[in-house]
């Protein structure tokens, strides 16, 4: 089996984001960027499946500006075999991302596409499902456990009510939850080795995909701040405040 993994470069999850003064977006200049966290789980799972002898090749793909290539390098350093960087100048909506990924799937013919369940910047939670609709493939979203079978996967999904288990025939799409596995760190020798692994560069314009934005971002603003609270001295005071001041118990 061949596995394609989509990885996205986002503002690091530890960064306290700042909103641009003109309300046009958030500040990304000189801000620490890293791989979208569940995408690390997606790569880890693909590499583990390969190590177990059940996959032949792991290909990491990213769609983004010049620097997005770092995200592919990182995937190569933890075990992906080669990379693809689809270059775009501006950020794309999930629909456009999934149309580009559809072209890459046509070209690479993977049996599985692994992705993160949501990107932590825009929290859209769409791309995997859109891609599987475009390909008419089965989808297993929010995966917290994957068992690889002959021509199918048994996947445990995290849903609001608890857990759900489904079986999907390959080719298929899986979107990964953070609980799927524990992503490994890249070792120094592997980081060095990854520098020699090939990354194919493709210009999005050459793929003939309509990536024009459909959604206008009119403004980005600070959410309303909570008014400052108080510290109570002890439990008795806490209960008294909840009862008589906030009137919630």
């Amino acid at each position: 089996m061949k596995i394609l993994v989509a990885v996205k470069r986002v503002i690091d999850y530890n960064v306290q984001i700042r909103i641009k003064e003109d309300g046009s977006g958030v500040v990304t200049d000189n801000v620490k960027m890293s791989t979208n966290p569940p995408d690390d789980n997606a790569i880890e799972e693909a590499v583990k499946i390969k190590e177990a002898g059940k996959a032949t090749e792991v290909v990491a793909v990213t769609i983004g500006e010049e620097k997005a290539q770092e995200t592919v390098r990182k995937a190569l350093a933890v075990g992906a075999d080669r990379g693809i960087h689809v270059k775009v100048d501006n950020s794309l909506e999930p629909l456009a991302v999934s149309k580009i990924l559809e072209k890459i799937v046509d070209k690479e013919k993977p049996d599985l596409v692994f992705m993160g369940k949501q990107a932590i910047d825009d929290d859209c939670n769409q791309t995997g499902q859109m891609l599987s609709a475009l390909l008419n493939w089965p989808q297993a979203t929010f995966a917290s456990k994957i068992e690889v079978k002959e021509k199918s996967l048994e996947v445990t999904r995290e849903i609001d009510e608890g857990l759900e288990t489904i079986e999907i025939n390959v080719p298929a799409i899986v979107t990964c939850d953070l609980r799927l596995n524990e992503p490994r760190y890249a070792s120094l020798p592997n980081i060095m080795k990854a520098k020699k692994k090939p990354i194919e560069e493709i210009s999005a314009a050459d793929l003939g995909v309509d990536t024009a934005p459909r959604v206008e971002q009119i403004k980005v603003e600070e959410p309303p701040k909570r008014k400052a609270g108080i510290k109570v001295a002890n439990v008795a005071e806490l209960v008294q405040k909840l009862k008589n001041e906030a009137k919630v118990i």
């Binding site: 569940p38 599987s132 079986e167």
Partner: protein, 317 residues
């Protein structure tokens, strides 16, 4: 054109958030129709027809719809959507799984997890774990929108009598097979809709100690929440997780015990009306959003809290 609401249900009852989604839909256009797809779901269809905001119910019933598989749902909804300008459902795991599939079939750029309807094409949505609010306007002719249920009040649940129209089922998608669902059953209120939520974090130290949280929750008639760290450590099951990658809750009272207040956790609870934090680290970020902070060791504070609650004559339920 009218708005098409996708009802979420369990073949018998409507899921509570369908009522919140109906409210949001009615703010986009007064003419709201609802589609309900399932198997032997007549009871749920009837309840849907009783929501006064719904003008018409479209019901599709077939065995392969029993388990709500998105691959089966998306093509039939896409077909029905021809006659509608907006397709709406909740941004919970049901809607998150389903809506993008419909949007891709309709070649529409979905707007996820909106918290406010500004006009019928402009919406407010949180980004970056709720650290920024984006106002977005969609130019697609079919607008696929998921709504954050806790940001909209539930609609009236009775008094309406919309006509129920049966529509034809689509083909079965055979490459996805449902195997099982493990639902955690409890008599406690549901986390998403509870008036009070008591949450525990890594500070609880073990699954056994989580019983302390359970006791407080039972006393207050509250739902139980948890941080991701507590779920990851196996103290409690995943359906209790609150946060950016878990559930969003907006109760009247949220009590965070042994939770540090990482931004990903705050994303799921900081809109709560009253927030209480109990933490032994006075510098913990959770105190920055707490209306009432108690700097204390939770293993001393919880038993005292129970004692004080027991002294009260009445507790609101």
């Amino acid at each position: 054109m009218a708005v098409l609401l996708i009802a979420e249900h369990n073949n018998k009852d409507l899921k509570a958030f369908t009522l919140n989604a109906a409210t949001a839909a009615s703010q986009m256009d007064e003419d709201v129709h609802a589609i309900i797809i399932g198997h032997n779901s007549g009871d749920a269809s009837k309840k849907l027809s009783e929501l006064p905001v719904i003008k018409k119910v479209i019901s599709i019933d077939a065995p392969h719809y029993e388990n709500f598989t998105a691959e089966n749902f998306a093509p039939v909804i896409t077909k029905v959507a021809e006659n509608y300008s907006h397709i709406v459902c909740s941004a919970n795991t049901f809607g998150k799984n389903l809506m993008p599939r419909i949007a891709a079939h309709l070649d529409s750029s979905q707007v996820s997890d909106i918290i406010k309807v500004i006009s019928n094409d402009t919406f407010l949505r949180p980004i970056y774990a709720g650290n920024a609010f984006a106002t977005v306007k969609t130019n697609d002719s079919k607008k696929c929108i998921t709504i954050r249920p806790t940001s909209f009040d539930p609609c009236e649940s009775s008094g309406g009598s919309a006509p129920i129209e049966n529509a034809e089922a689509g083909e079965e998608f055979t490459n996805t097979k449902f195997i099982k669902r493990e639902e955690v059953k409890s008599d406690r209120p549901e986390l998403g809709t509870a008036r009070i939520v008591v949450s525990g974090g890594r500070g609880m130290q073990s699954g056994d100690n989580f019983k302390l949280i359970t006791e407080v929750a039972d006393k207050l008639g509250a739902a139980i929440g948890a941080s991701r760290a507590a779920v990851d450590a196996g103290y409690i099951s995943n359906d209790h997780q609150v946060g950016q990658t878990g559930k969003v809750v907006v109760p009247d009272l949220y009590i965070a015990i042994g939770i540090s207040g990482a931004i990903q956790h705050l994303a799921g609870m900081k809109e709560s009306k009253i927030i209480v934090a109990i933490n032994k680290d006075g510098e913990a970020p959770i105190f920055s959003v707490a209306d009432y902070g108690l700097e204390a060791d939770l293993f001393e504070a919880i038993p005292q809290f129970m004692e004080e609650l027991n002294k009260l004559n009445t507790i609101q339920k």
